[in-house]
């Protein structure tokens, strides 16, 4: 059986990284960065998820087939999110009637 036995040290190192990232993401969330908050939070979450998948779930030492399965699942999730949002994000855009421009009016007190 060609199974890879990972040294304990690696696991502990990955664990330390995961905990640090958790502290980092929680601290960053306390600062108001506007729309950047969610981006940072999700980027950190992706880092953590990759660490878990690559080391704890042994994806790093698995065959290419497992990589394909994992990537396929994420790809399909991306399809679901992207195409659904393609509707919601463009609902406000109605095709303009010909020869029309939106007048911009300031509402004053």
């Amino acid at each position: 059986m060609s199974q890879h036995v990972v040294p304990k040290k690696t696991y502990l190192f990955v664990f330390a990284a995961l905990i640090s990232l958790t502290i980092l993401t929680t601290s960053v969330a306390m600062i108001d960065l506007g729309p950047v908050n969610i981006v940072v939070a999700l980027l950190i979450a992706m880092c953590k998820a990759s660490l878990v998948a690559l080391f704890f779930m042994h994806l790093r030492w698995s065959s290419r087939l497992m990589h394909i399965v994992a990537i396929a699942a994420l790809f399909w999730l991306a399809i679901l999110l992207t195409l659904t949002l393609s509707d919601y994000r463009t609902r406000q855009w109605t095709p303009a009637a010909e020869g029309w421009e939106a007048p911009s009016i300031q509402l004053n007190r």
């Binding site: 059986m1 060609s2 199974q3 036995v5 990972v6 304990k8 696991y11 502990l12 990955v14 664990f15 995961l18 905990i19 958790t22 502290i23 993401t25 929680t26 969330a29 306390m30 600062i31 108001d32 960065l33 908050n37 969610i38 939070a41 999700l42 950190i44 979450a45 953590k48 998820a49 878990v52 998948a53 080391f55 704890f56 779930m57 698995s62 065959s63 087939l65 497992m66 399965v69 994992a70 396929a72 699942a73 994420l74 399909w76 999730l77 679901l80 999110l81 659904t84 949002l85 919601y88 994000r89």
Partner: protein, 217 residues
């Protein structure tokens, strides 16, 4: 060795290598299914957060970030012990395997316990459970309610996965106690480990999406 071989090998497979690869692939494919299962919820969450940004922030703000972060740490710990349990199983170290499995179970139960006793219970008392006990009189109450619908559904489905995971690990501990695993046969432990880590990964995304988006207010 030949005896151990025969006991560990199901009849439809030619050899242990094939059996191991088949079960790993099966587990990963199952996890792909799970990703899409949670994916439907993530899609709903994303759509409504896009529509009701302020309400979702206000709802998130009502959650306890400290408890969420604590639970995240607990779950990461349990992933570590699970990984070490799989390692012990591979090396045939029975005592170590049992210890780490029990630790994982305890950490898993801690997570679910904190969720139930400190979070959901408090949410109920504060009238934040949609459909059962919900009253919120700030602005955007509809959106806040929607946030809590997703909060309860996502954490609920996640907690259900945790409970199933704990049950599986309990069975494995019993089998390990009976000496059913060895360097030839550790597949079930490894598969349970994949499942456990996956549940951890889901939480890694739930934590920022539910707890952190409203934290800075």
């Amino acid at each position: 060795m030949a005896d151990g071989h025969a006991a560990a090998l199901a009849e439809q497979f030619e050899d242990l290598e094939q059996q191991h690869e088949a079960s790993s692939l099966g587990m990963w494919v199952f996890l792909a299914t799970e990703i899409m299962f949670f994916g439907g919820l993530f899609a709903g969450y994303t759509v409504y957060r896009g529509l009701y940004l302020a309400g979702f922030d206000a709802g998130s703000h009502l959650l306890n970030v400290k408890l969420g972060a604590f639970n995240t740490a607990v779950l990461l710990c349990s992933s570590l012990t699970m990984a070490l349990a799989v390692r012990a199983a591979m090396l045939g170290k029975r005592r170590e395997l049992i210890t780490f499995l029990v630790l994982t179970i305890l950490l898993g139960l801690t997570f679910v316990g904190v969720k139930l006793a400190f979070e959901w219970h408090r949410d109920f008392e504060e009238h934040l459970v949609p459909g059962i006990n919900f009253a919120y009189d700030g602005s955007n109450s509809r959106a806040v309610e929607l946030f809590f619908v997703f909060y309860f559904f996502m954490t609920g489905v996640h907690a259900l996965h945790m409970v199933i995971g704990v049950a599986i690990l309990a069975v494995l501990t019993w089998q390990a106690f009976r000496g059913r695993f060895g360097p030839e046969r550790y597949n079930p432990v490894e598969m349970a480990g994949l499942y456990w880590h996956f549940v951890d990964v889901i939480w890694i995304f739930l934590f920022p999406l539910l707890y952190l988006i409203g934290a800075h207010h």
